[in-house]
Symmetry: C5
């Protein structure tokens, strides 16, 4: 009997909440949509704004690539550069070299675009280039940038200040690392306040590495089989190793269902040099 | 001794229940069979009726596809359109473009049919087309639509009303997402009332997204290695990301053995344009 | 000290039991061997007897199959029919069509034989046929039939009677489903009486489906990486879906380490028509 | 404070133990090395001695094998026989037929050798034969035989006597089964006495099967990603199925991280006949 | 209320710690960077210093390798030797033979370099050699050496002394074993003192094997999907098997998420002989 009356109460509360949700939350959702049409691609802006889609595509060359005449392979560098130029108003294209450091890829793209369909079109056209036709996609990660939600000025003023108190001061980063993350149902079922506390514990040991590791975050829940894509650039891989050990040594790590798998480590070159390195 | 007498009681109850089950439940089972023969395919009807089979087939083009002359590749669009026309009284065919957004597929089909064998025949004949012969199946999901069983007018009147109080009002959806789901033995062993309560908690945060995310559900237990196929269309992927975070943040998520793996994200085009995009 | 004396007792019991086991259990084991030599294959008998080996072999056609001239592909139907005829005194051969419904197979065999080596020989010779040479084995399941051990007349008279009180009355089944099962160490460590109780709970909801779903069980522990192969035929896939939901909703499901993975769904045709369908 | 003083005690004990370990245990380790140089291969001896390496290599023929002229395929049987003869002073070679019973292999080798490098050399040379060049390795298991460590005369006299009280009396075994095993950290962290107790419980139900199932054990921890390779020969697969159900139904099974995966079931033929069966 | 005030305290502490961290820890991080530019490769030094990158790359020959003329295959040994010579100021190259002992590889490299990008360049150029073009990468492990952090003179003086009290005295090792390790979130969330205690328990049973097993450790957290790469050389595989059983039998093993998978076992030859052995 008691169970039934609790359920009755539950239903009443539900009924009371529905109307409110139908108006309020819808508005909030709509407010997060970026004004995609109005924007042009500017590197410094698109890499810091919310509402930007990120597509990471890892490629592995097929053995047939080696059978293409060397000059044709080298020409592919210009072909890809031309394609990037063609799409420059729609997609910001970065290319990285992983051959020699990874098993499942030789190079990978990071695309940033206000409209995901535009990134898809770029990638579809890349697949029709000489190198694209001789490579297999080994992994694709899709995410979107969003405003900070935990360590904000309101929620956590000191850590928020800490995050802005230092910037990268090392040599130009030569290395890139991409680590996809999926968190458990237990994590998502924590209250916001509990998750905030864990993210404060997460943020504290990372402050010391602001000077030698750059980071960027994409949200992926529902767009892909992961929750986050974390992207790093550094010139100091030992500092990076220490940073990641710090992040392994806190309670948040217990909520990771997937952290890496794959971790992708590559070197940072301009797109033409990546293709040339693979054409030698 | 006490254990044995409880078992004795158990056996007596079993004996008492069998006759009733043999008549009652059989009738109920039979009643759910759709009158497959009598129906013709009408998009608006078949997409809302129970008793309709859904077959999702993901395809990845083989490298050989690029070696087929461009005109022959382009002709394949008409060949597929003709095949769809030939089967139009038996199967409703939708085709989506995933190249550039997914690792394991370039395009995928959703077939809706009153008779599963008819969907199988369509797919078998597609495999004999030019593009079908140059593509590998990377995933197949089979399910069937059934009447609502949790959030009905009787079980949960307020939420049921909430579900009908809003419809999609966004721009024509450009994106499709397919997410297969398998639930744990613990979920299926909950009482109906417990599962109803969890599904109410599931439904509440989804109401706000009725205006910008369309959804459809297929049941798959025993037909496939999953329990459900969830299908979404939207033009607002950030709203969709927020919706899926909401669904991750409730207790029901703890009963997911599989949620995605793969999540398939594609763009919505008419079938001929999908083939053409892959033929360029 | 107490631990040691318990162990001493344990050892004494062990010593006392060994002689008895060496005579008794060996006899029981020997008694289960079928008189393989004496039997000829008769469909209705071999499909109901214990001591019969079942081999399920799933095949996926290679792309090369499409390059074989159409007439040669069609001739393969007769070639396979002739092979089945040649082995008809040793192996009962069934063939099913999965293309269009499964990712990893296009067709599969079920072989029933009193002598497993004979089934192996048939399959080895099939691999040398035109279609066999152009197909890859994607899965093999090996099991053997045994007498009922839980729901017998002695253990569970009412359920045993229920099982015989109804038979399949639907249209000729058009669909086949094969689901391999592995149970946990916890299951096998339950006492026989506990497992009997769970199997009674398992059997009760299945009674209503005797009229529209046929079933058959093969035991596989040690012969394969599974414990059971469950085989179903039906013409009513919605009833089948309901049956499997019933079986998911009982405690026994908590002991499944593997249930499906893969579930194989196909259509029932005579062997020649399966090959013809794949030759079109 | 109490924690620190316990740690202090711990460190003192450590210090006290190191010198002893450095002399004692090293001697014990050295004593287990077999006098590899002095021995010649004799089947009955090498299959019963400790300190013998076992290499199991599973092979799957590539489709190209079928395109080799039939006479050349048949000649491969003699080529392999000659290779076995060449290495007969270094490696004992057994070959088994799995085509028709397994998905991932068509045949497999068991090599026994006093010197692992010699087994490696044989296998490398096999890879250069006609059949070796047309087959892919699908699995490799490496282990070594060691003296009995649980059910010895001292530890468990009655069971030890039971193990010697019966030998195989069935027909010549026609079937071979290989099952790799990995045990959990929990198993290895049990005390020796606890593991002995579990192995006694393991051994008891196996006694009845001494007459119809032959067994052999290789240890693999650190040499491979498993702890044991269990090898069986039998002519009675139903007895074998019952034996494995017995071994599933004891507490030891709860410590299995991997048991099979793959289980490999094949038929026992002399090497030339295995190759011939695959050449038809 | 109490929860909020604890959180308040937490925030205050956070604020107090940030400034200190920003100066102190950053310095510590920077101090760990090796002076990469200044060093030349010297085997005995690079294999004992911290701050050295290790890249392990496993290769599997494609079937096409057998179709290359035998002399061209043999010439590949000199081609690889020349490449190693060319890079000798940047990378220390070791090559091992796994064909015959492993499923997924035929040979593997261990590269040691002060600058990871230099190791990448070597590997990229190897991929352009005759053998490199005919082999697929089956696994890559990337790590870096660091100073001892648990069993130091300060933390654990007796064990530290034990580690230096014996060195390898066996015959030249003929075998190499590489085992990647990943530890659980629970491990990394232990306090340093708890982990030190577990590592002492880990170290104690390994002392006896200093005389017949050589070891080396690379740290990999964040650089790869593992935490450590453990590398062993031995001529006594039975001693090695005993050592690994010892390491399985301690509590630390319960914190292994991955231990091996794959374990790679090979033989130690000079690079030219590895290629020659694969060219016969």
């Amino acid at each position: 009997m008691r169970r039934l009356s609790i359920r009755h109460l539950h239903i009443t509360l539900v009924a009371g909440t529905i109307a409110a949700i139908m108006t309020m939350q819808t508005a909030a959702v709509a407010a997060q949509q970026p004004a995609a049409e109005a924007m042009v691609i500017e590197r410094s802006k698109i890499l810091t704004q919310p509402g930007v889609f990120g597509v990471f595509t890892m490629f592995k060359l097929r053995p047939e690539w080696n059978k293409i005449p060397a000059t044709e392979r080298m020409d592919s560098a210009a072909e890809v550069a031309k394609l990037i130029e063609k799409h420059k108003d729609n997609v910001l294209v970065d290319l990285y070299l992983t051959r020699g450091l990874e098993t499942n890829s030789d190079f990978f793209f990071r695309l940033n675009a206000y409209d995901l369909a535009k990134a898809q079109t770029f990638m579809r056209e890349f697949r029709a280039t000489t190198i694209g036709k001789n490579a297999d996609v080994s992994d694709t990660l899709v995410g979107v940038t969003k405003p900070l939600n935990y360590i904000t000025k309101n929620n956590s003023p000191d850590l928020n200040a800490g995050l802005s108190s230092a910037t990268y001061t090392g040599d130009a980063p030569r290395y890139v690392i991409v680590i996809p993350i999926k968190k458990s149902a237990e994590w998502w079922n924590l209250s916001f306040e509990q998750r905030l506390k864990e993210m404060e514990t997460h943020t504290l040991p990372t402050l010391a590495y602001l000077v030698n590791v750059k980071r960027k975050l994409y949200h992926a829940t529902g767009l892909d089989d992961i929750d986050f894509i974390t992207y790093f650039e550094t010139n100091d891989l030992i500092a990076f190793n220490n940073l990641l050990i710090s992040l392994a040594s806190i309670p948040e790590n217990k909520y990771h269902v997937r952290w890496g798998n794959p971790t992708t480590l590559g070197t940072i070159l301009n797109p033409e040099n990546v293709i040339k390195a693979l054409s030698e």
